[in-house]
C-alpha cells in the first residue's frame, strides 16, 4: 500500500514536468516575419522606416563635421565636443565615441533596413513587377545615399559596401572603389525606377518627389553630388540633367526631412532654443567676420544676448538656421544643384557659365554680381565662399575644404594653441580593422 502511494507520487511528479512553449517576442514584430511572403503593408512599413530613419544620426553628422571644419562649436555638457573634435592638446579622434558612432551606426542601420526591404522583395509575390521595381529603386537610392554619407566621414579609410549578410560582411573598399560602387548603385536604382510604380507613400518631405519619375530626379541630384565629390565633373554635370536642377528655379526646391512632435517621431536635432546656454550651436566668429556686406545668409546667425564661452572657446552668434524644433531639414536643394553646376563648369573651364551661375546665387542672397577676376582660382574661391554661407550647418563644409585640400591650418583657424584639424574619421573600433 505504502509503496503504491510512493509510486503514485513519483508518477505525479513526473507528470508535472510540463512542457514549455516555444517563445515569440511579445513586444515587437520579428525580422523573420517580413523576410518571407511579405505583404504590401509590411513592405510599406519598411519603406516608411527607411525614410524616417534617414534622419537618425544626421544631426550629429552635421555638428561633428561642422566643428572639425570650424564653422560652429557645440557648446553642451559633453567636453568631447570641444576637446576631441578640435584635437585639443594633440588629442586624436576616438574610434568609439558618439561623434563617429552615432552617425555611422544609424546610417548603417538604415542601410540594413534597405537591404531587408530588398531581400523581402525577392521573397514575396504580393507586389507586381512594377511595384517591386519601385521598392528597389527607392531602397537602392537611399542605400547609396547613406553609404555616400559614411564615405564622406571615413574618406581614405574606405568603407564596407556589401553589408547584406551580418555574419559575412564584405571587405572595406578603397575610397575609389567605394565611389564606383555607390555610383553604380545609384545608376541601377535609376534604371529600376524607370517604368516602375510606387505602392508606398513617402512623407510630405518628399512632396514633388514621390513618384518614380520625380524620385528619379532626386536620385540624379544625389548622383550629381556623388560625382562632384568623386571629382568627375562631367559626370556631375550630366547627372544634373536628369535632376530637378533649375537655374531659374527656387533655391529651396528639393526633398526634405520632416519632423513633428507626434508619438514615435523625432525633433529637428539641429534646432537650439534661442539664447539657451549649455546646449547651443555657436557660430564660429570667422563666419561673421568674413561675410560680405549685405549677404542675407547672415540671417542664419543671431547675436546672443550674452556671450557664451566654454573650454576656452567663445562666439558672439548662435544658430538661427531653423525656426523651431519641427522645422524641416533639406536633404538636397536646387541651390546646391546650381552650385554643383557652377563648380562643374569651373572645373571644365567654362568660366563664363560658372560666373553666371554664381551670380544667380549671389543676387539671390542680396549680394551684387561677381566682380572679381575671371580666373579658375578666383572662381573656386568665390564658389567656396557661397557654399560656405549657403550650406552653413548642413554638413558640407568639412568636405568642401577637403576636396580643395584646404582642411588644414593654412585655411582654417586654430582657436587654441595645440588644437588640430582632422581630415577624416577613423574606422570605428567595432569594425575590428
Amino acid at each position: 500500500m505504502r509503496t503504491y502511494k510512493i509510486l503514485m507520487l513519483g508518477l505525479l511528479l513526473s507528470v508535472v514536468s510540463c512542457s514549455i512553449d516555444e517563445q515569440v517576442d511579445p513586444n515587437a514584430p520579428s525580422l523573420n516575419s517580413v523576410l518571407k511572403d511579405a505583404s504590401i503593408t509590411e513592405l510599406n512599413l519598411l519603406a516608411t522606416g527607411i525614410e524616417g530613419f534617414m534622419r537618425n544620426g544626421f544631426g550629429t553628422y552635421v555638428t561633428s563635421t561642422g566643428s572639425i571644419a570650424r564653422e560652429l562649436y557645440i557648446f553642451d555638457a559633453d567636453p568631447r565636443n570641444t576637446e576631441d573634435l578640435l584635437g585639443k592638446d594633440g588629442m586624436p579622434l576616438d574610434n568609439n565615441t558618439f561623434y563617429l558612432t552615432t552617425p555611422y551606426n544609424n546610417f548603417y542601420r538604415d542601410i540594413k533596413t534597405c537591404n531587408i526591404l530588398l531581400e523581402s522583395i525577392d521573397n514575396t509575390d504580393n507586389p507586381t513587377q512594377a511595384e517591386k521595381d519601385g521598392y528597389r529603386g527607392f531602397a537602392n537610392t537611399i542605400k547609396a545615399f547613406k553609404l555616400f554619407q559614411v564615405l564622406t566621414m571615413l574618406n581614405d579609410n574606405g568603407i564596407r559596401v556589401d553589408v547584406a549578410d551580418p555574419n559575412n560582411l564584405g571587405p572595406f573598399l578603397s575610397k575609389a572603389d567605394a565611389f564606383r560602387a555607390i555610383r553604380e548603385l545609384l545608376d541601377d536604382a535609376q534604371g529600376q525606377l524607370n517604368g516602375s510604380t510606387f505602392a508606398f507613400q513617402l512623407s510630405a518631405g518628399f512632396a514633388g518627389f514621390d513618384t518614380p519619375a520625380t524620385f528619379s530626379q532626386f536620385n540624379r541630384a544625389i548622383a550629381a553630388r556623388v560625382a562632384l565629390y568623386a571629382k568627375d565633373y562631367l559626370g556631375a554635370l550630366s547627372a544634373l540633367d536628369g535632376s530637378f536642377f533649375d537655374l531659374m528655379g527656387d533655391f529651396k526646391t528639393g526633398p526634405k526631412h520632416v519632423f513633428s512632435t507626434n508619438s514615435g517621431d523625432i525633433l529637428n536635432p539641429a534646432f537650439k532654443t534661442p539664447n539657451q546656454s549649455g546646449d547651443q550651436l555657436v557660430v564660429h566668429n570667422d563666419l561673421i567676420a568674413d561675410a560680405q556686406a549685405g549677404d542675407d545668409r547672415l540671417n542664419k546667425f543671431a547675436l546672443r544676448t550674452n556671450q557664451t564661452t566654454l573650454d576656452g572657446l567663445a562666439g558672439s552668434h548662435e544658430t538661427r538656421l531653423y525656426a523651431s524644433a519641427t522645422s524641416s531639414m533639406d536633404i538636397i536643394r536646387n541651390e546646391e544643384l546650381i552650385l554643383i553646376y557652377a563648380e562643374g563648369k569651373i572645373q571644365t573651364d567654362m568660366l563664363g557659365d560658372a560666373a553666371d551661375a554664381l551670380d544667380i546665387i549671389r543676387t539671390g542672397h542680396s549680394l551684387p554680381a561677381y566682380s572679381g577676376p575671371m580666373t579658375k582660382e578666383a572662381l573656386i574661391d568665390e564658389m567656396l565662399y557661397n557654399r560656405r554661407y549657403s550650406f552653413w550647418g548642413e554638413g558640407h563644409r568639412m568636405f568642401d575644404m577637403r576636396r580643395y585640400d584646404r582642411l588644414n591650418d593654412q585655411f582654417l583657424p586654430i582657436d587654441r594653441a595645440g588644437d588640430q584639424i582632422f581630415t577624416q574619421f577613423p574606422i570605428p573600433l567595432t569594425e575590428g580593422q
Partner: protein, 971 residues
C-alpha cells in the same frame, strides 16, 4: 526523465520497506534550561543515530520513550551549544543546562531544498548573518545595505546615495556580462524580485540607458527588522541545487517566527537624521585676477564676480543643494507568541526618511504575519504574509545629456558668483552656463516612485512515516510575490532645457512584476546501527515570472499641467516578459557519525530563456566534510573542531529576456508608422552560461570556543559566458548575443571569530572577515583560434566612456574589471581596476554587565579604482575645488576605511508588571571615512547594479551619514 524519476521513487520505496522491528524500550524525562535557569521551550531532543525524538514543552520539560536499553540523547536549540547525554533505563532523569553557542557550530544551515544541516557538518563556506548582526548595531535603511563588511566574499556597492536603495550585491566577483550579477533571493521559500525599475527620467535628462537613471532596487521593500537570518550561498558549489538561476549565488532569507510561550510585545522608535557624508567643495576665487585667469575668454567674468562679491552674493551651491539635514523616523511594533500547536509573529513598521537634497526621501510601511500551525503530529503548515507600501522621491542625479536636471551636472557648470535664486514672484533666472537651474529643478521637478507589494509564502509538511530508524517527509512549499510599481517624472515646461524645445515632460510608469514558484520535495532519512545515516531527497521546482512594464510619457505639455494626457507628444511603451522554468532535484547525503559527511546531488533544469525551452541542463554537485576532531584518535583537547572540507558544484544562468529574438523597431515620420531593424541581433540557439566552482577550506575552533577560524579558497569558472558583443556596426546591428567566453574567479575568504573575554561583568566578541577575488578572462571566442578566426578583444556595450576616458574591455588574459585607456602609442592599455585588492570587515560586540552594550563595525577596502567623471565635468565647468586641481587623470584610487556602524544601548532597570524593559540607545552609520578619493564617495556606480557596472562615477546622489536615537519598550 520519467524513467530516472520513477527509479528514484523506487529507491525511496525500497528504503521504506526496511523497517526495523522494535524491541524493549524505556522512558526518559527531565527539563532543559539556559545558564540562568530559564526554561527553554522547543528544544529538540533526539536519540542519536535515529529519528526518535521530541521537543521540550512550555515549562522546558520533556518525556521520551526510547527503544533498547541505552542511548545517547542530543539536545539542540538554535543559538545554543548542543549537549549529548548518555541515558539508560536506570539513568532516566536528565536535567540539562544549555549554554549559548558562541561559535555558531550548531547553527542549522539549509543544505537542500527541504533539508538542513548543522554548520559543523557543512562542506561549504556558507555565510550566515543573524538578526542581531543585521539590525543590532544601528537601524538599517535597506536590507542589502545591512550586509556591508559583515560577510566574507560578499561585496556590497551602493550605486548612489539616494534614500530608498540602489545597492548591488556581488558574490565572489563577476559571473555574468549580459545578465544580472545579483544573487537569487528566496524569502521564506518565495523567489522575490530585486528589480531596478527605471522611471523613464532618461527621456527628459538624456541619460543614455535606463540603468543610468539611478533607480532603487526592490530589496528596499523588505523590512530588515523582520529578518531572522540570511544565508548566503556564494558560489556554485553551495548553490547547485538552485540550478539555472543561481550563477550569481543565492540569498536565503528567513523571517522571524513566533515562539511558544508568553506573548511578547515590543515597541521601538528610532529618531535620526541624514547629512552629507563628504562635500567635495567648490572653486573659489581670491581676487579678480584669479577669475580672469580661470575664464580667459570672458572679459566680463571678473567684473561680474567683483559685483557679486561686493553685494555679498557669492553662493555655495553645493551646500544649498546637498546640505539639507533629513529627518528619519522609524517605528516598529512586534507581537509574537503562541502555544505548542500554533505560533505567530505579527509586525508593523513605518520608516520615513528625508534625504540630503530638499524634496527627496523614502517612506516604507510594512506589515507581516507569520503563522506556524501543527495540524496533527504529522501535518504542519506555516505561512508568511507580507504587505509593503514604499515610496521614494529621488529627484535627479547621475549621468545625463543636456537635460539640465542632474544636480551634479548643473553644479559642475554653475558658478558661485551667478545668482540663481528666484525673485519675489517665484521666477527662477536661467543658468547662463548650463541648461538648468538646480534650484528650480529641486523645487519644481519630480522623480517619484510608489510600490505596493504583496509577498506570500506557504509551506506544508507531511511526515508520512516516522519509525525508529527512518523518517519520510514530504514538503510542498512556494508562494508569490506581486509588485506593483508606479513611477512619476515631471519636468515643467518652464525648465530651461525644455523651454521652446520639448516644452515639459511627464512620464508615468505602471510596472508589474509577479512571480510565483512552487516546489514539491520528498525526503527520507535513514539511520543504521553502525552510526551511518542516509538522507535522500527528490523533488521538482517550478518558477514563473511575469513582467509588464508600461511607460506613458509626453512632452509638449499644456502649460501648468502635470497629467500625462495633457501633452502634445505622447508615447506609450510596453515591455512584456514571461519566463518559465522547471527542474528536477535529487540529492543523497551520507553521514558517518558526524565524522565524515558526503553529499552528491543533481538538478536538471529547463527554461523558456534558452534557445530550446524544453532541453534539460544538468547541474551536479558533490561535497565532502571531514570532522577530524570527531575521530577517536584526535586527542588535542584544546581544539574542539578541526574540519577539512571540499565541495564542487555547477549552476547556470540563462540569457536575458528577448535575447533570442531579432526584432524590428517602430518609428513614425509624417504621421505614418514604419519599421527599422533593431540594434540587437538575437540568437535563437542560446544555451545557459555555466558556472562551476571548486571550493576547499578548513574550519577550526580552539580554546573552548574562544577562537574560531574558517578559511576558504575557491576557483570559480564561468563557461560559455553570455555576452553582448559589439558587432561591426556596418552590419546594421550594434550588438549580438554570443555564448563563447570563459571567465575565472579565484579568491580567498577568512573569518576569524574571537571571544577573548566572557564574564558577566564584561564580555567582548570580535570577528574579522577578510576576502579578495581576482578574475581573469581565460577564453574569448574559438578555443586557441588562429588570428582572424578568434574573437578580437572588444568593448561590451554600455560599460564605460570610451578609451579616451576609461572603459571596460574584454581581453583574453586580463581582469574583467580592469579599466582601459590608451598608451602613448595609442593602443589599449590597462589604466586601473575596479576590483579591490582585498576587503576587511571588523565587527565588535562589547557587553558591560547586563545593561550596557557597545557594538561597532569597521570596513576597510584596499585598492580598486573609480573613474571619476564628476571631476571631468567640474573641470569643464571650472568649478573643481582649488585643492583638487593638481590630480592627474580621472582614474583614482578608491581605497577607504569606514566606520560603517556604531551603536551603544542601555537597558533601564525596570521591574514593572506592564513594561518589562526599556532600552535606550544611540547609533550612527558611516560616521567617518578615511579615503584619498576626491569625490563624494569611493563607493559608487553610475550604471546601477547590473553587469560590469562598478567603479564609474558621474555626478551621483552624494552618500549620507546618519545618526540615531533609539528607544524600545518590551511588554
Amino acid at each position: 526523465m520519467k524513467y530516472f524519476f520513477t527509479r528514484a521513487s523506487l529507491v525511496l520505496a525500497a528504503l521504506l520497506c526496511m523497517q526495523a522491528s522494535s524491541l524493549a524500550q524505556f522512558s526518559v524525562s527531565g527539563t532543559v534550561t539556559d545558564q540562568d535557569g530559564v526554561s527553554l521551550i522547543g528544544v529538540s531532543i533526539l536519540v542519536k543515530g535515529s529519528s526518535v525524538g521530541t521537543v521540550s514543552d512550555l515549562d522546558g520539560s520533556y518525556e521520551l520513550n526510547i527503544p533498547g536499553s541505552n542511548a545517547i540523547l542530543e539536545f539542540s536549540y538554535t543559538g545554543f551549544k548542543a549537549v549529548n547525554k548518555p541515558v539508560s533505563a536506570e539513568n532516566n532523569k536528565i536535567d540539562v543546562m544549555m549554554s549559548e553557542d558562541i561559535t555558531n557550530l550548531e547553527e542549522i544551515v539549509v543544505s537542500g531544498l527541504a533539508s538542513t544541516i548543522k554548520r559543523s557538518n557543512l562542506a561549504n563556506a556558507v555565510a550566515t548573518i543573524s538578526n542581531e548582526e543585521i539590525t543590532g548595531v544601528t537601524t538599517q535603511q535597506t536590507l542589502d545595505g545591512a550586509l556591508y563588511g559583515k560577510l566574507p566574499g560578499v561585496n556590497v556597492v551602493q550605486n548612489n546615495g539616494a534614500p530608498g536603495g540602489g545597492i548591488a550585491i556581488r558574490l565572489r566577483g563577476v559571473s555574468s556580462l549580459s545578465g544580472n550579477n545579483q544573487p537569487l533571493i528566496i524569502l521564506d521559500g518565495v523567489y522575490i524580485t530585486n528589480a531596478e525599475i527605471p522611471s523613464g527620467s532618461r527621456f527628459a535628462s538624456g541619460a543614455n540607458v535606463g540603468i543610468e537613471e539611478g533607480s532603487s532596487n526592490r530589496l528596499a521593500d523588505i523590512n530588515p527588522d523582520d529578518i531572522e537570518s540570511i544565508e548566503v550561498l556564494k558560489g556554485a558549489s553551495a548553490a547547485a541545487i538552485y540550478g539555472t538561476r543561481a550563477n550569481a549565488g543565492v540569498m536565503i532569507i528567513t523571517t522571524k517566527k513566533g515562539k511558544a510561550g508568553d506573548t511578547k510585545v515590543s515597541l521601538e522608535q528610532d529618531l535620526g537624521f541624514n547629512t552629507i557624508s563628504n562635500k567635495v567643495g567648490r572653486r573659489t576665487f581670491a581676487n579678480k585676477e584669479e577669475v580672469a585667469a580661470a575664464f580667459p575668454t570672458e572679459p566680463n567674468a571678473p567684473i561680474e564676480w567683483e559685483a557679486a562679491r561686493q553685494a555679498g552674493k557669492i553662493f555655495d551651491y553645493e551646500d544649498e543643494i546637498y546640505g539639507e539635514t533629513g529627518l528619519i523616523s522609524e517605528t516598529r511594533l512586534n507581537v509574537s507568541g503562541g502555544n505548542q500547536k500554533t505560533q505567530f509573529y505579527i509586525s508593523g513598521g513605518y520608516r520615513n526618511e528625508d534625504g540630503i537634497i530638499k524634496n527627496t526621501g523614502f517612506d516604507r510601511f510594512s506589515a507581516r504575519l507569520n503563522i506556524t500551525h501543527e495540524i496533527s503530529k504529522s501535518f504542519t503548515i506555516s505561512t508568511s504574509t507580507n504587505y509593503v507600501n514604499s515610496a521614494a522621491s529621488r529627484s535627479f542625479t547621475g549621468n545625463e545629456n543636456e537635460g539640465g536636471l542632474s544636480y551634479g551636472y548643473t553644479l559642475a557648470f554653475t558658478r558661485d558668483y551667478v545668482d540663481l535664486h528666484p525673485d519675489e514672484d517665484g521666477n527662477y533666472p536661467d543658468n547662463p552656463n548650463y541648461t538648468g537651474n538646480p534650484l528650480f529643478v529641486r523645487d519644481h521637478a519630480k522623480n517619484e516612485e510608489d510600490n505596493n507589494r504583496f509577498i506570500q509564502g506557504a509551506r506544508f509538511e507531511w511526515k508520512a512515516l516516522q519509525l525508529d530508524n527512518q523518517v519520510l517527509r514530504f514538503v510542498v512549499n512556494g508562494g508569490f510575490d506581486i509588485l506593483n510599481n508606479e513611477t512619476f517624472v515631471y519636468v515643467p515646461e518652464t525648465h530651461q532645457a525644455q523651454r521652446g524645445l520639448t516644452n515639459g515632460f511627464v512620464g508615468v510608469g505602471k510596472n508589474k512584476i509577479s512571480n510565483y514558484n512552487y516546489q514539491v520535495t520528498g525526503s527520507h532519512d535513514f539511520y543504521t546501527a553502525a552510526g551511518l545515516s542516509f538522507s535522500t531527497q527528490a523533488g521538482i521546482s517550478y518558477l514563473n515570472i511575469d513582467r509588464d512594464f508600461l511607460l506613458n510619457r509626453t512632452t509638449q505639455l499644456i502649460p501648468l499641467q502635470t497629467n500625462v494626457s495633457q501633452g502634445g507628444a505622447q508615447v506609450i511603451e510596453q515591455t512584456l516578459e514571461n519566463e518559465e522554468e522547471f527542474g528536477f532535484i535529487v540529492q543523497e547525503s551520507v553521514n558517518w557519525d558526524d565524522k565524515i559527511i558526503g553529499t552528491v546531488g543533481v538538478r536538471l533544469d529547463k527554461s523558456s530563456l534558452n534557445g530550446d525551452p524544453n532541453k534539460y541542463y544538468t547541474f551536479p554537485r558533490a561535497s565532502l566534510a571531514l570532522n577530524i576532531a570527531n575521530f577517536d584518535f584526535w586527542n588535542a583537547e584544546q581544539v574542539e573542531q578541526f574540519k577539512l572540507r571540499i565541495a564542487y558544484g555547477e549552476t547556470g544562468n540563462s540569457a536575458t529576456y528577448s535575447s533570442l529574438f531579432t526584432s524590428l523597431e517602430n518609428l513614425t515620420i509624417g504621421g505614418s508608422s514604419g519599421f527599422v531593424n533593431d540594434r540587437q541581433q538575437g540568437n535563437p540557439n542560446l544555451a545557459p552560461e555555466i558556472s562551476s566552482e571548486l571550493e576547499f577550506g578548513a574550519d577550526f575552533t580552539f580554546l573552548n570556543g574562544k577562537v574560531g577560524l574558517e578559511v576558504t579558497y575557491y576557483i570559480r569558472k564561468v563557461k560559455d559566458l553570455l555576452y553582448d558583443r559589439s558587432l561591426p556596426t556596418s552590419s546594421g546591428f550594434t550588438n549580438e548575443i554570443r555564448n563563447d567566453l570563459d571567465l575565472e574567479n579565484r579568491g580567498f575568504e577568512l573569518s576569524l571569530l574571537l571571544n577573548p573575554v566572557r564574564s558577566t561583568a564584561f564580555s567582548w566578541s570580535s570577528s574579522f572577515n577578510f576576502w579578495f577575488n581576482n578574475s581573469e578572462i581565460t577564453r574569448l571566442g574559438i578555443p586557441d583560434g588562429d588570428e582572424g578566426e578568434d574573437i578580437p578583444s572588444f568593448v561590451p556595450p554600455n560599460v564605460g566612456f570610451g578609451f579616451g576616458l576609461g572603459t571596460f574591455y574584454i581581453n583574453e588574459g586580463s581582469s574583467i574589471t580592469a579599466f582601459w585607456g590608451r598608451d602613448d602609442a595609442g593602443n589599449p592599455a590597462i589604466s586601473g581596476d575596479a576590483s579591490p585588492d582585498f576587503q576587511l570587515g571588523w565587527y565588535n560586540q562589547l557587553k558591560f554587565g547586563k545593561r550596557l552594550t557597545l557594538n561597532f563595525l569597521a570596513h576597510w577596502k584596499q585598492g580598486g579604482e573609480v573613474l571619476n567623471l564628476t571631476r571631468l565635468l567640474s573641470d569643464s565647468g571650472v568649478t573643481t575645488p582649488n585643492e583638487d586641481l593638481d590630480i592627474e587623470g580621472f582614474i583614482e584610487d578608491a581605497s577607504y576605511l569606514r566606520l560603517r556602524e556604531i551603536g551603544a544601548y542601555y537597558t533601564l532597570p525596570i521591574n514593572g508588571n506592564f513594561i518589562e524593559s526599556i532600552r535606550l540607545g544611540v547609533s550612527a552609520r558611516n560616521l567617518f571615512t578615511l579615503t584619498s578619493y576626491s569625490s563624494y564617495d569611493p563607493e559608487t556606480s553610475t550604471k546601477g547594479g547590473s553587469g560590469l557596472s562598478t567603479g564609474l562615477e558621474v555626478s551621483p546622489f552624494p552618500s549620507s551619514k546618519q545618526a540615531y536615537f533609539h528607544i524600545s519598550f518590551n511588554f
